[in-house]
C-alpha cells in the first residue's frame, strides 16, 4: 500500500508552501523598506505631496517648443521636458529607421566594398558605449564647428557652433534660407547643437542595430524566393517590394519594437550633452525642491507610458504584417 507522505512533501501542498514563503519574504521586505521610507521622509519633512508641482519653477529652459518661463509652475517645466523627449524620439526613430534600412539593404549589395564597410560600421558602433559616442559628437564634433561667417555653409543648411540653421517656410509662407543678420545666423528652422549632437549620436547608434534587424529579416527570406521572382521576370526593386519585403517584415517588426523602445530610453542621456529633455528637467527639479520620491515616480511612470505606447503601435503594425497561415 502507499506510504503516507508527510505534508511538507505532499505535491499539492508544496506550491502553496513555496508561494507562501516567497510572498511572506517579499511582504516583509516591502514593509521594512516602506516603513523606513516613511520614517525617514517624515524626519526630513519630505512626505509625499503633489502641491509643490504648482509652485513657480524659478529656472529657465533653454530650448523648448512649449513656451516656458521661470515663473511657470514645475509641472509645466516637466511637460516641456517631455515635449523635448518626444521631439528627440520621433526624429530619432525616423532617422535611424531610414539609415538602418539603407544599411541593412546595403549589406546585400553586389559590391563587396559596400558590404564590408557596412559590416565595419555596424561592428564599430555596436561595441562602443552610446554615452561615449554622444559626448564625442557633442564635445569633439559639434563644439568644434566654426561660428559666424566662418560657419560651414551647405545648400540650404548652415552648420555653426551656435546651431544648425535649416531652410524652410518663413513668415508669409516664403521659402527662406539661412541668412546672416548682424553677424548672427537666422533661419526658419533652427536646431541647437545640443539637439543636433544628441540626434546624430542616437541615429548613428540605433541605425547599426536596426541594420542588423533588417539584415536578419531579409536573410530570413529563402533564397528561392529571389530566384523564383527573377525567373518570373520581376526586377530587383519589384521583387523587393512585392515578394521579399512582406515576408521580411514579419521578422523585422518585432525586432524594430525592441530597438524603438531602446531609442526612447536612450534619449534620457540628453543630460550629458546639455539638452533639456524630461530626465534633465526632472533632475533639476529634484535638486531645487528636494522631492526625491515624487520626481522619481513621475519619471518612471512617464517612461513606462512612453514605452507602452510605442509597443502598442508596433504590435498593431505587427498584426498587420503577420501572414495568416491558412
Amino acid at each position: 500500500m502507499a506510504v503516507p507522505v508527510p505534508w511538507w512533501r505532499n505535491r499539492r501542498v508544496i506550491p502553496w508552501l513555496v508561494q507562501g514563503a516567497v510572498g511572506l519574504t517579499v511582504l516583509v521586505l516591502v514593509a521594512f523598506l516602506l516603513g523606513n521610507l516613511i520614517r525617514n521622509l517624515t524626519a526630513a519633512g519630505l512626505l509625499l505631496s503633489w502641491g509643490w508641482l504648482n509652485q513657480p519653477a524659478g529656472f529657465d529652459i533653454a530650448e523648448t517648443i512649449l513656451p516656458f518661463q521661470a515663473s511657470d509652475p514645475y509641472w509645466r517645466g516637466l511637460l516641456a521636458g517631455l515635449v523635448g523627449t518626444v521631439r528627440v524620439v520621433i526624429a530619432g526613430l525616423l532617422g535611424s529607421t531610414l539609415l538602418g534600412t539603407l544599411l541593412g539593404m546595403a549589406s546585400f549589395s553586389g559590391n563587396a566594398l559596400l558590404r564590408g564597410l557596412t559590416r565595419v560600421y555596424v561592428e564599430v558602433v555596436r561595441n562602443i558605449p552610446l554615452l561615449l559616442q554622444l559626448v564625442f559628437w557633442y564635445f569633439v564634433v559639434f563644439l568644434a564647428l566654426p561660428n559666424g561667417t566662418a560657419a560651414i555653409q551647405l545648400p540650404g543648411v548652415v552648420l555653426a557652433k551656435s546651431g544648425l540653421y535649416i531652410a524652410g517656410f518663413g513668415e508669409g509662407l516664403r521659402w527662406l534660407g539661412p541668412h546672416l543678420v548682424n553677424g548672427v545666423w537666422q533661419a526658419p528652422l533652427r536646431w541647437s547643437v545640443e539637439f543636433a549632437a544628441l540626434l546624430t549620436g542616437l541615429i548613428a547608434y540605433s541605425s547599426a542595430f536596426i541594420a542588423e534587424v533588417v539584415r536578419g529579416g531579409i536573410a530570413a527570406v529563402a533564397k528561392g524566393q529571389w530566384e523564383a521572382a527573377s525567373s518570373l521576370g520581376l526586377s530587383w526593386l519589384q521583387t523587393l517590394r512585392q515578394v521579399v519585403l512582406p515576408q521580411a517584415l514579419r521578422v523585422i517588426v518585432p525586432g524594430l519594437n525592441t530597438q524603438y523602445i531602446s531609442l526612447a530610453k536612450n534619449s534620457s542621456l540628453a543630460v550629458a550633452v546639455g539638452f533639456t529633455d524630461l530626465y534633465s528637467v526632472a533632475e533639476t527639479t529634484l535638486n531645487q525642491t528636494g522631492r526625491a520620491v515624487e520626481v522619481v515616480l513621475l519619471l518612471l511612470a512617464t517612461y513606462l507610458v512612453l514605452d507602452l505606447f510605442i509597443s502598442l503601435v508596433m504590435n498593431g503594425l505587427n498584426r498587420l504584417v503577420q501572414i495568416r497561415e491558412r
Binding site: 523606513n36 554615452l131 561615449l132 530610453k265 522619481v296 517612461y303
Partner: protein
C-alpha cells in the same frame, strides 16, 4: 594573379554603378584615413593620456597602496595563463590537440609585443614598463606550463582548480578594499578602469543567478511567482537605466534605516545587477523555451526530482541556446557602466571628462575619446569573440562528432 583580378572585378566592378560606388567609397575612405593619420601623428597631443595614465587606470587610489593592485594584476594574469593553458590541453572534441596551435603562438607573440611597445608609447616610467613586461611574461609562461603539465595533474586537482576563480575574486576584493590586515581604501578613491572593471564584473557575476531565478519564476505555474517575475521584469525593462541609477542614488538613503547609507559604488553596482538580471531573464527564458518539453518529462520519468531535473538536464541545454544573447547582455552591461559617470562616479568616462575639463588640456578632447573608444571596443569585441569560441566548443554537434 588572374583569379585575383577576376575576383576583384566581380566583387567591386560588376556593373558601372558598382564601379562608381567603389571608386567613390575608396576616395572617401582614403581621405578619411589620411586625415586621421595626419591628425594622430602631428596635431594630437597624446601627452594628455600620458600625464593622466594613473588616473585613468586606478583613479585616486593612494600611491603607497598601489602595490596591491599590481599584485592583483599579477594574480589575474597568472589565472588567465593557467586557464588558457588548461583549456588548450583539453582540445575541442573535433580538433586534435597541439600544445601551441598557430593562433596561440600568434596571440602570445602579440601580447608580448604590445607589452613592450604600448607602455613606452604611453610614456610610462621604466619601472612600470618592466612590471607590465613581467606580468605578460608570467602569463605566457604559465600558459606554457599549464599546457605542458596540465594533463598530468591528478584528477582531484583538476576538479578543484575552477574553484580558484571565485577564490581569486574574493582575494581581489580584499586587495582592493582592504581588510585582513591590509589598510582599507575607501571606495570613493577607486576610479578609472579599476572601477569600471569592478562594477561590471560584480554586476555580471551576480545578475546571472538572479536572472536564471527570474526566468524560472516567469515560467512557473504558481501565479504569485509568475506575476511577481513578470511585474519586475517589465518594470525594469520599461525604465531607462539612468532613471534607475538616479533612484538608487537618491532614494536608497531613504529606504534604509537612518544613517545606514551604503557606499555609492555599491549602490550603483546593485542597481546594475538588478537591471541586468531582468534582461538576462528574458534571454534565459527564450533558452528555456527552446528545450523540448520531452527532456523534462524524460528526466522526471527516470526518477529525478523537479529541481534535479532542471539543474542537470534542462538548464544546461537552455543556457547553451541562450549563450549568445547572454553574452550580448554582458557586453551591454560593460558599456552601461559609462552611465555611472552621470551620477558622479569616477569610472573611465567620468575620469575622462574630469581630465578633459582641466584647462591645461583644453581642446584635446579627441585624443581622450579616441583612446577610450579603442579601449571599450577591444574589451567588447574580445567578449564577443570569446562567446563565439565558447559556442563552438559547447555545440553538441562538435561534441557528438568526436564520438
Amino acid at each position: 594573379m588572374n583569379t585575383l583580378l577576376r575576383r576583384l572585378r566581380h566583387d567591386l566592378f560588376a556593373t558601372p554603378a558598382d564601379g562608381l560606388i567603389t571608386v567613390a567609397l575608396l576616395a572617401v575612405i582614403g581621405a578619411g584615413i589620411s586625415s586621421f593619420l595626419h591628425w594622430a601623428l602631428t596635431q594630437a597631443r597624446w601627452a594628455v593620456i600620458q600625464a593622466n595614465s594613473t588616473l585613468f587606470a586606478v583613479g585616486r587610489y593612494p600611491m603607497e597602496q598601489q602595490w596591491r593592485l599590481w599584485l592583483l594584476t599579477g594574480l589575474l594574469a597568472a589565472a588567465t595563463g593557467i586557464t588558457w593553458g588548461m583549456l588548450r590541453s583539453h582540445p575541442r572534441p573535433d580538433r586534435g590537440g597541439i600544445l601551441w596551435p598557430r593562433n596561440d603562438r600568434f596571440a602570445a607573440g602579440l601580447l608580448l609585443a604590445i607589452s613592450l611597445v604600448l607602455p613606452r608609447m604611453l610614456g610610462l616610467t621604466p619601472s612600470v614598463q618592466v612590471r607590465w613586461l613581467a606580468i605578460t611574461a608570467l602569463l605566457v609562461l604559465l600558459r606554457w606550463g599549464a599546457g605542458r603539465f596540465g594533463p598530468s595533474l591528478p584528477p582531484l586537482v583538476k576538479r578543484l582548480l575552477p574553484l580558484g576563480l571565485p577564490l581569486l575574486y574574493l582575494i581581489g576584493m580584499v586587495l582592493i578594499g582592504g581588510g585582513l590586515g591590509l589598510a582599507s581604501v575607501s571606495p570613493s578613491e577607486w576610479g578609472g578602469l579599476l572601477l569600471t572593471m569592478l562594477e561590471s564584473s560584480f554586476a555580471i557575476l551576480l545578475c546571472f543567478p538572479l536572472g536564471v531565478l527570474l526566468a524560472l519564476g516567469r515560467r512557473s505555474e504558481l501565479p504569485l511567482l509568475r506575476w511577481g517575475s513578470v511585474l519586475y521584469i517589465e518594470f525594469i525593462r520599461g525604465a531607462p537605466l539612468i532613471t534607475l541609477l538616479f533612484l538608487g542614488q537618491n532614494m536608497l538613503g531613504f529606504l534604509l534605516p537612518g544613517g545606514l547609507a551604503p557606499e555609492r559604488v555599491w549602490r550603483a553596482a546593485w542597481v546594475l545587477t538588478l537591471f541586468a538580471a531582468a534582461y538576462l531573464a528574458e534571454a534565459v527564458r527564450s533558452g528555456l523555451a527552446a528545450v523540448p518539453r520531452g527532456q523534462l518529462e524524460a528526466a522526471r520519468s527516470l526518477g529525478m526530482s523537479m529541481p534535479q531535473a532542471f539543474v542537470s538536464v534542462v538548464l544546461p541545454q537552455a543556457l547553451r541556446v541562450a549563450l549568445p544573447s547572454m553574452v550580448g547582455q554582458f557586453i551591454s552591461l560593460l558599456q552601461d557602466t559609462t552611465l555611472l559617470s552621470l551620477i558622479g562616479l569616477m569610472e573611465l568616462l567620468g575620469t575622462a571628462r574630469t581630465v578633459m575639463a582641466n584647462p591645461e588640456f583644453l581642446g584635446h578632447n579627441a585624443e581622450v575619446y579616441f583612446t577610450l573608444a579603442v579601449l571599450f571596443w577591444c574589451c567588447c569585441a574580445a567578449l564577443g569573440l570569446g562567446s563565439r569560441a565558447l559556442e563552438r566548443r559547447l555545440d553538441p554537434a562538435t561534441i557528438a562528432r568526436s564520438g
